[in-house]
C-alpha cells in the first residue's frame, strides 16, 4: 500500500506494509542514509528525528508516524551544503568508517537545537543510544563540542 509521510520538509508517498518499521519503510523507499545496524534499538545507526527528537527508526512502526515530521541526516544538510554538525564531525575526526555517523550527527543536532551549550555530561546522555565501533567516542564528543562553538559563533556573527 501507499501512504503519505512528511520527510525532510516535504510530503512523500511511500510504499509500505502495515507491519513495517520506519527503518524498513525508509530504506525500501531509497532513504538509504538511514542505516540498519542491530535492528533491536540498541546501536542507534538507524536514528532519525521524529518531531525533532531522536528515535530508533527500527523501533517505530511506520503506520504510527504518518502525521509526524521525520528528519533523516540528509534533512539537516547536503553534501554541498553540510550543516555545522556534519562539518564538525569531519574536522574533529569524529568519522571513521561512517556507519554510525548519520545517527550520531542527528542525535547531536537534536541536542544542539534544544541546548546550544551542552556540558560534556549532557552530550554523553544525548548520545547514549548511539554506538561506534571505531572512534572510542572521544573525537565524537569533541565534534559535538566543536559544533556547539561554531553554531554559537555563527549566531553571534548574525546578531
Amino acid at each position: 500500500m501507499k501512504k503519505n509521510f512528511h520527510i525532510n520538509g516535504s510530503v512523500k508517498e511511500l510504499e509500505l506494509s502495515p507491519n513495517d518499521t520506519l527503518l524498513q519503510t525508509l530504506r525500501n523507499n531509497n532513504f538509504t542514509e538511514v542505516k540498519c545496524g542491530c535492528n533491536e534499538g540498541e546501536c542507534g545507526a538507524c536514528t532519525v528525528l521524529l518531531e525533532n527528537k531522536a528515535v530508533n527508526s527500527c523501533q517505530v512502526l511506520s503506520m504510527s508516524v504518518q502525521e509526524k515530521e521525520i528528519t533523516t541526516v540528509k534533512g539537516i544538510g547536503t553534501l554541498y551544503q553540510p550543516h555545522l554538525v556534519q562539518t564538525s564531525f569531519v574536522e574533529a575526526g569524529g568519522d571513521q568508517c561512517g556507519f554510525c555517523s548519520p545517527g550520531m550527527a542527528l542525535a547531536a543536532y537534536s541536542l544542539l537545537q534544544e541546548n546550544p551549550n551542552p556540558s560534556r555530561d549532557e552530550i554523553l546522555v544525548a548520545l547514549d543510544g548511539n554506538l561506534c565501533r571505531c572512534t572510542g567516542y572521544v573525537k565524537i564528543i569533541d565534534a559535538v563540542e566543536l559544533a556547539a562553538r561554531k553554531i554559537a559563533a555563527e549566531i553571534k556573527e548574525t546578531e
Binding site: S17, Q59, V60, S64
Partner: protein
C-alpha cells in the same frame, strides 16, 4: 515478526479504543517498542493511542497526573522543570537510552511490565494509582493492579496519579553491569518522617521471583528509627528477596547483591529526612 495484514485503528475517544481492544488479537500501541520486541503473529490489530488525548502531565490538589501516552522523556522534562516526581525521574533517566526514552510511553510500560522494567518500583513505593478504562472504569493502586491480576485484563490505562510527598526521602537503585543493559533487579525505598526519624517506610524490589516483592520486614524494622550507621547495617538483615537463576547470575548471587544495593540505597538516604 508482526503479521503482514495487520489492521491499524486510530480511535479518537477512550470508549472507542476500549471497544476495539475487546476484539480477539487486537492490542494497544503506544510507542511500539515492546510490541516490536515480542512481534507476535497472534497480533491481528493495533489500536494507536497517539490519536487519544493521553499525552499530558499536570499538577492539581497535591497530585501529579501523567497521561499514559506520555513518553519517558516527557516525564523527565516535566520533572526537571517542576522539581516534582524526582524518584520516578531517577528511575526513568537510567532506563534504556535517549532515543528509546523519546519513544517509550508510560502506559505501554505499565501494561506489559517486562521483567527488566524499572518503572514499577518507584510507583509502588510512592503508592501511585492508575486510572483505567475497560469493562469497569476505576482508579486503583499500582499494587492492587498487580496483586489482583487486573494487569492481565483487557483495559486501557488512561493516567498515572502520583501524590506529592513533602516529607519523603526516596531512592531507587537498579543493578546492571553497564548502563545500557536491562537491570537484573530494581530496589526502591520511600521513607516518610521528619527530623531524621522515619514514621513510615515503603520498600519494594522488582525483578524477583513473582516479579515484585513488598519488603514488609525491612519497613517494620525502619519505622520509628533514625538512619544511623548501626540501623543501616542492621536493616540489611530484615531485607530479603527470592530470585530465579539465569544465564547471567545465580539466584544466590542476586540475593546477596540485592541486599548490598538495599544497604547502599539507605546510606544514600542518610540525612534526607529534614
Amino acid at each position: 515478526m508482526l503479521h503482514q495484514n495487520l489492521e491499524w485503528y486510530y480511535p479518537h475517544t477512550i470508549e472507542d479504543a476500549v471497544k476495539l481492544i475487546s476484539q480477539q488479537g487486537v492490542i494497544l500501541h503506544g510507542g511500539g517498542t515492546r510490541i516490536l520486541k515480542t512481534s507476535s503473529k497472534s497480533i491481528k490489530g493495533l489500536v494507536h493511542v497517539g490519536s487519544l488525548p493521553l499525552n499530558f502531565i499536570h499538577h492539581t490538589d497535591g497530585k501529579t497526573s501523567i497521561g499514559s501516552g506520555s513518553t519517558y522523556d516527557d516525564i523527565l522534562r516535566y520533572a526537571h522543570k517542576t522539581n516534582r516526581l524526582s524518584l520516578l525521574a531517577k528511575a526513568l533517566s537510567e532506563a534504556a537510552s535517549t532515543p528509546l526514552r523519546n519513544r517509550i510511553t508510560i502506559g505501554g510500560s505499565l501494561k506489559d511490565f517486562p521483567i527488566w522494567s524499572s518503572l514499577y518500583t518507584p510507583l509502588l513505593v510512592l503508592n501511585a494509582h492508575l486510572e483505567i478504562a475497560g469493562k469497569k472504569d476505576e482508579i486503583i493502586s499500582v499494587r492492587d493492579y498487580l496483586e489482583k491480576g487486573i494487569i492481565k485484563s483487557k483495559h486501557l490505562i488512561t493516567r498515572v496519579i502520583v501524590d506529592d510527598a513533602p516529607h519523603v526521602a526516596g531512592n531507587v537503585k537498579r543493578f546492571s553491569l553497564i548502563r545500557f543493559e536491562y537491570p537484573v533487579f530494581t530496589v526502591a525505598a520511600a521513607l516518610h518522617g521528619k527530623k531524621n526519624v522515619i514514621s513510615e517506610a515503603s520498600v519494594y524490589i522488582t525483578g524477583v521471583k513473582g516479579r515484585f516483592k513488598h519488603c514488609k520486614r525491612a519497613e517494620k524494622f525502619l519505622e520509628g528509627k533514625s538512619l544511623t550507621d548501626e540501623v543501616i547495617a542492621e536493616a540489611g538483615k530484615y531485607f530479603s528477596a527470592k530470585f530465579v537463576s539465569d544465564y547471567r547470575y545465580s539466584a544466590e548471587y542476586k540475593e546477596h547483591t540485592a541486599n548490598v544495593f538495599f544497604t547502599d540505597l539507605l546510606i544514600e538516604l542518610k540525612g534526607g529526612l529534614q
